[in-house]
């Protein structure tokens, strides 16, 4: 018995590890440990250093990403193609790191002033980012699963970070329970896929699934896996947790969830769709079509009713998710497939900027008003014109008004859909067009408060914005405008033709 095992072990071939390729992950791992250890030894008064350090870790992890990009090899594949570093992965890694950096800027003062645990927060944050960075490269069911849980579990805890706050508790618990439940369903689907195709490697699965020749188990597997990620990207009707969690969680965490975590979900979905399901388009295309249409519409009409700004942004991010999802519904189309990938990536990048920016404004303003109601933004233009203008930029961008980033993202999504030139595509585009208008209604309602109303309490004192938030705003405003005016800035990245090994039709 032992001999047998040893014999097997003798077959063990130490995998060749491309250390450069995994350098970003390694930097993050080291960062996790350093921050954790440092936290034990730092006096409370010096905890602010942790935030700075975490920020540096993020930027440090960005360095190998940049060097990898500069070297610009086609792709680096590890573990028999289960972990791939290609252009797509690099862009998204950079994106996640940048988003995390901005979120740290946003959370710093919030955590200090709220008296929360700081060290642990940053450690969890780093862990979660590590999961996202891994997700960009994961090309295997197992690695995807691991990355997913690595990014989710810390997020559950961060959502409940305000320990004494009932709402925050509730936010954490709901997120947790539903998240785990969704993981379970997804895993169940994955097990079917594994059973049917006899592999966990996405490309193998892709080779084994063929349209028109799918058995029930495979269909269920595909549907359940997509539903699992649909939860992550809070697509309707898997979105129910999102508004509650977003509202209850500390605002920087909400920002993180609504941008990074959602993006990670999309990354996984894109990988799976393009690598594993290219030939199951009969299954996933209708499913995603319905999900996209529902997500946009329900998210929007519910957002119309909101009076709390965070909750409004929650629904808004639900509906934005619908727009991102929209091109994927035509990923299997021979015309639109390539554009769909570009559209999703570009949208994610732009969405990151504008949504983070919106949350940064909310944080900055609520420091003064201590309220999350939309009406509390009244008169902002009077006493804080800078913030008001920035807010206008973000909200207008979310509404998709040129020349701000959001319009280009939306345009690209429309473009990918219409490229399919099928009736389903035209109908979805029309639905999306109507939704653009509905969404403009509530974005403009917020801006109306900002510009046209008087301050509800008549308090005209200026808002003091801490410098980290100013920095966060600066990054996001510039990002939003630059992408809109010179879209080439991001389309350079979106020019990537495909994922390594993907079968783009």
């Amino acid at each position: 018995m032992l001999g047998l095992l040893l014999a097997q072990a003798s077959d063990w071939i130490t995998p060749v590890i491309d250390w450069h390729a995994v350098a970003p992950e390694l930097v993050l791992v080291v960062g996790v440990n350093v921050v954790l250890l440092l936290d034990l030894n730092l006096a409370d008064a010096k905890k602010w250093m942790l935030a700075t350090l975490t920020g540096f870790v993020m930027l440090g992890a960005l360095v190998p990403v940049v060097t990898l990009a500069v070297i610009g090899d086609d792709s680096r594949s590890l573990f028999d193609g289960r972990y791939v570093i290609d252009e797509y992965a690099l862009i998204l890694k950079a994106f996640f790191l940048l988003v995390a950096y901005v979120v740290i800027l946003m959370s710093q003062t919030e955590l200090e002033e709220g008296g929360y645990y700081q060290g642990e927060f940053y450690v969890l944050m780093l862990c979660s980012v590590l999961g996202m960075v891994m997700m960009s490269s994961a090309r295997d069911l197992i690695s995807i699963f691991v990355a997913l849980e690595l990014l989710s579990i810390p997020a559950y805890m961060m959502a409940a970070w305000r320990k004494r706050d009932v709402k925050s508790n509730e936010a954490g618990v709901k997120y947790y329970l539903l998240g785990v439940f969704a993981s379970g369903i997804m895993l169940y689907g994955m097990s079917f896929l594994f059973g049917s195709t006899n592999s966990t490697l996405l490309t193998d699965i892709g080779a084994a699934l063929t349209d028109g020749d799918l058995n029930g188990m495979e269909v269920v597997g595909v549907v359940f896996v997509i539903c699992g990620f649909a939860f992550k990207i809070s697509a309707v009707p898997f979105h129910t947790w999102a508004p509650d969690t977003y509202e209850g969680a500390p605002t920087p965490v909400t920002a993180f969830l609504s941008v990074a975590s959602k993006a990670a979900g999309f990354v996984a979905l894109v990988s799976i769709i393009f690598l594993a399901f290219p030939n199951a388009s009969d299954v996933y295309q209708p499913l995603l079509w319905v999900l996209a249409a529902l997500t946009m519409t329900v998210g929007n009409v519910l957002a119309l009713r909101q009076t709390n700004i965070v909750r409004l942004l929650a629904y808004s991010s639900v509906s934005q998710g619908g727009f991102i999802l929209m091109p994927l519904a035509f990923a299997g189309n021979s015309n639109a497939g390539g554009s769909a990938l570009n559209a999703v990536v570009v949208y994610l990048l732009v969405y990151g900027f504008m949504n983070l920016g919106a949350f940064a404004i909310v944080i900055a303003v609520s420091r003064k008003t201590r309220s999350g109601e939309i009406s509390s933004f009244g008169g902002l233009f009077g006493y804080a014109p800078g913030l008001a203008v920035a807010m206008t930029v973000f909200f207008a961008s979310l509404a998709g008004i040129p020349p701000l980033g959001g319009w280009f993202a939306k345009f690209n999504a429309f473009r990918a859909v219409l490229q399919a030139e099928t009736n389903a595509a035209y109908v979805l585009a029309a639905i999306a067009a109507v939704n653009t208008v509905i969404s403009a209604a509530y974005y403009m309602r917020v801006l109306r408060s900002v510009w046209m109303d008087d301050a509800p309490d008549g308090d005209q004192s200026p808002v003091v914005t801490p410098s980290p938030i100013v920095a966060a705003l600066g990054i996001t405003v510039i990002g939003t405008i630059v992408v809109g005016v010179i879209p080439s800035a991001v389309t350079r990245f979106a020019e990537l033709k495909d994922l390594t090994g993907a079968v783009v039709p």
Partner: protein, 831 residues
Amino acid sequence: MVAAEVAQLSSGWFLENAWLIGLIPAVGFAVIILFGKKLPMQGSEIGLGTLGASLVIATGAGIQWMQRTNSAETEEAAAGVLRGVARALPRASEGGAAEPFIEPVSSTWVWWQNSGLEFGLGSSIDGLSVMLLWLVAFISFLVQIFSLDYVRGDRRYTHFFAAMTLFSSGMLIMVMADNMVQVILGWEIMGLCSFLLIGHWWEEEANSVAALKAFFTVRVGDVGLLVGTAILFFGANQYAVDNLDTNGFDLDAIQAWALSGQASTWTIVMAAIALFIACIGKSGQFPLHTWLPDAMAGPTPVSSLLHSSTMVVAGVFLVAQIYPVFWEGFNIANGGLSFIAVIGGITIVISALLAFVQDDIKKVLAYSTVSQLGYMMLGLGVGAWLPAVFHIFTHAFFKCCLFLCAGSVSHSGSHHSFDMKKDMGGLRKFMPITFGAWVVSTLALTGVFPFAGFWSKDEIIDNVGNNGYTFLFWVGLGGAALTAGYMTRATYLVFFGEPRGAAAGEHHDDHVVHADDHALVGAATHSLSAATNTDDGHGDHADDDHGHGDHGHDDHGPHESGKLILFPIVVLAFLATVSGFTNATPLGESWEQFKKYVEPRPEAVAFDAIIASGPGESVQLVVPAVAPAVEDDGHGEGAGDDGHSTGCGRGEPEAATACFFPAVVHAEPKFAKILLSLAVVAAGYAAAIAFCIAFYKRRDPRLVGLTQRSRVARAGYKFLANKYYLDHLYEKIIVRGVAHPIADAAYWINQKVLDGAVNGVGEGGKRAGNWVYDNIDQKLVDGAVNGSGLVASESGHAMQPMQSGKVNQYGALLFGAAAVGAIVLVILNVS
């Protein structure tokens, strides 16, 4: 048919620069508006000066036109083609010798372009236009002289002269136009000025209502002008481009096209109808005449200008100018019962009858104008082009003179009242010159030999009969008798009998009571109040002082007017006496100057000759050209017979030639007819004088109170006094019909006449507008928009229960959706 021998016609500086005639007053207007108030005479000198300049140029142009016409004959003589003598003769088509077509002199600039076609602006001078240019400039000049004194001290003295000058300019621009767009330009400028001038004293609502009514009524007719122009343009354009190297707006092209025989009947009939509707509105023909009497709300010089040579004449002029369209459209050549003639006939009688019941002197004259315009239209409608045009000429003098006399009377005799019954009477003793001029003009108007009206009006009536319209002939004669009647009544009331009211030097403290109680009396009322103000010398009404007083006369009694007022009156009276001799047909052909110089010759002209002179870029002066005339196929002279089956306007012209004027028929003067019409007029006079003496002087009991005693008489009077219930018709039936079922109309027709037709139409429009706005716009269209927002919001509300906050339900939804998705897709994909 050769074009090789192109003879040279003489031209001259005045003819070639005739465009200045319209332009100078237009510039004058701008100068008055911008700088008028700062000038020593407050801008009136500019008005007089510019019109004077126009008059000089117009006179020069007139003389040169005559030279041009004469030169044709001498040139022809030199070329050896002469077949007639150098004086008016029967037209070739009437058996006389062929005379060359005298081509208009035109100077054109590119005004606008479209679709690669360039459209011009400029002048195209022919006999008709040069005659009217001179007439308009002359009358305008005299009226402005009159106004110097008449409106002195008016609050808006400068504005008044500006508007008067622009008014004349509009008419001049229209008259000299060589294309339809320019006609519209002048036409509408006049509309604008009539609005400004009728509403000159806009402080009183009645005046501004009258101004609005005038503008609006004319504007209704303008729909016809727009539509007609469109039809003509697209009808004639191809022909014009192909043959004449011009475009479908060009008046010459339209004339030629209409006579070319290539135009489809439908097109030309529609165009003629549409354009004539415009003329009905502008020239106050039945049934759109109702604005004219109301237009008396303006100052008297305005009325006199408007009624003599501008504005109302524009419609007649337009018909005369593009006569071939109507000739063909209404089939005048073959004696068809033309729309124009019928409307003209109706107008003559109806308005003459209305003139009997007016107490306002200006309104009598206004209805008289309408009636005289009816004669002109009648003439044009039956093919009597020349007499109609001649009547424009003579009518301008005596009608202008009559209005100025009325102005003089109210200015110096009746304290700015125009009410003949209340404030006049016996004025002949106080105002002998005015009285004399009035009488002369009245005789001219009524057509008494040898005054001007006799020569023109009789000629119209004569030609109507000659062309076979017997009924209309009697209508015309009857109209002449009526004219004599109402003018006698007016003359008697104003100048004979005992002075009454203001004329007797009474003070009017109760002038409001005196106000005419039906229709618009703004001018009278206002003038009274203004006079009262200044005479009091205190001006309590400083805030609403119209400043129309301040004449500096201390006595309150009637007296003769000043020199500035009398001068134009006398000049006009003189012309009213003698101007008829310019075309005195009964005296022989050598007296027919109008026929020679004004009436275009109905001769075909070769295309080549025309194209050489077509409009081009920038200023292109016409190379005067004459083409040999068509071979005369006509024979015999018989009046009204069918001997004219060929010639211009009676069949297609020969290939590669164009006609510009149809061969109209001219009646031979007959002594018996002249006697007949003089007898009719005399009868009219006799009856009217008898009535006046009986009714007004002797108060004959049989007549006084007749309207109270006799139902027939009362009904007749009421019918007339209410202007045939036409305003009533517009307001109550047409207007209210928009909102009410027609069954109600019977009730409404019995209601009292309240307001003008236009206000009525406006009221109806407003109601329709209100209804549409409230029900359609706000409820339906806007409601749909707001509704869709509501739907979105409400559906959000309906979905909120989904977001219950309960984890278990969220989980159920999550799994349920996944399961449903899986089941559906399995069914779809797994067979």
